[in-house]
């Protein structure tokens, strides 16, 4: 309770600090790394969430209400292909980013 009160009476203001520290929470543009990106074929997708579970960068959301249930944040996807490798229905294909196909 006291901590809450303190938080209300204290104001957030800029203070200089000395020494090495990081306070800017930032994502870098890792999407620019990939040479392939995942493409889902929804006919066979069973919305199991395996792709979401194993994506190392946690970029996949599954919306069970939609047929096209998968959203992948391509700003950061590195194109590792784990989602495609693990999908039990094999309905994710890694497609070349530069579009030669």
């Amino acid at each position: 309770m006291q901590i809450q009160q303190e938080k209300h009476t204290k104001k957030l203001q800029k203070c200089k600090v000395y020494g090495p520290c990081a306070i800017d929470f930032v994502s870098s543009n890792t999407g620019s790394w990939r040479i392939e990106r995942p493409v889902i074929e929804y006919d066979n997708c069973i919305k199991c969430g395996t792709c979401k579970r194993y994506c190392p960068a946690d970029l996949i959301t599954v919306d069970k209400e939609k047929r096209e249930c998968i959203t992948i944040d391509l700003n950061y996807c590195k194109g590792c292909g784990i989602c495609a490798n693990e999908c039990p229905m094999e309905c994710i294909e890694m497609v070349e980013e530069r579009g030669t196909n």
């Binding site: 520290c21 990081a22 994502s27 890792t30 194993y54 190392p56 970029l59 590792c80």
Partner: protein, 289 residues
Amino acid sequence: MFNIKSEAKGYVAHGVSACAGCGMELIIRNVLDVLGNDITLVIPPGCSALFCGFGSETGLKVPAFQGNLENSAAYAAGISRGYEVQENTHTKVVAFAGDGGTLDIGLQSLSGMMERGDNVLYICYDNEAYMNTGIQGSSATPAGAWTTTTPGGKPVCKKDLLGIAMAHRIPYCASASVANLPDLRKKVEKAKNIYGPRLLHIQCPCPTGWGYHTSKSIEICKNAVQTGAWVLYEYEAGRIKVNTKLKVLKPITEYFKYQKRFANISKEDMEALETFVQDNYKALLERSE
């Protein structure tokens, strides 16, 4: 306070400079998802330091301290006791270190922390070499594996981290794998709520260092478990429990396939390693509840 310049679902930024297919990235996201943000991380230089970031930018949304390579356990012990002395018993202090910083240079400070009973959750993500500096061998490198400093294949076997932890009789330690994330998360949850030194030894697949296609990270770890090369077990209150009991272990070749670091292993060495792995699994099963 952090300036949030990017959105993130959890406590780790989505765009971090871990290699594509990096097991460590998957591990830390799951660990922090279970632990929440009332934590303080201690991270040594190495692969995990990339989460701490560069300059004023970081990929973490929780308090963290980047210490030295060999003393994560020591910093963590000091931080944990510091909180306790100020009557903060809720913030979890978590070290997140690699195999080199744990089993080689970090072994002394880890041992001290465990012996004293310090209240620290120590997580070792084990990619089985000094990966961040360019794939040099560590004491966690398995026998037969290529690294830049074991180019003919490591002639000696991997140090038994959990065995060392058990020799300190700590309240809880366990191995885990990205092959079984529900099991990993359960172990983090269990460890979270125990007081004292707790150690989690998590196999961390590394496409760059192990020499496989990035998409195979999970599959390789599944094979590690299925062949007995990585045993999932827990040690709690003095008793061992093997979590995944397999009647028959797959041949070790199932684990080695895809991995360039085992490409030149001789037939004799492979057979020796298979025997070692299978004997080890049997021995653990015998000790298991």
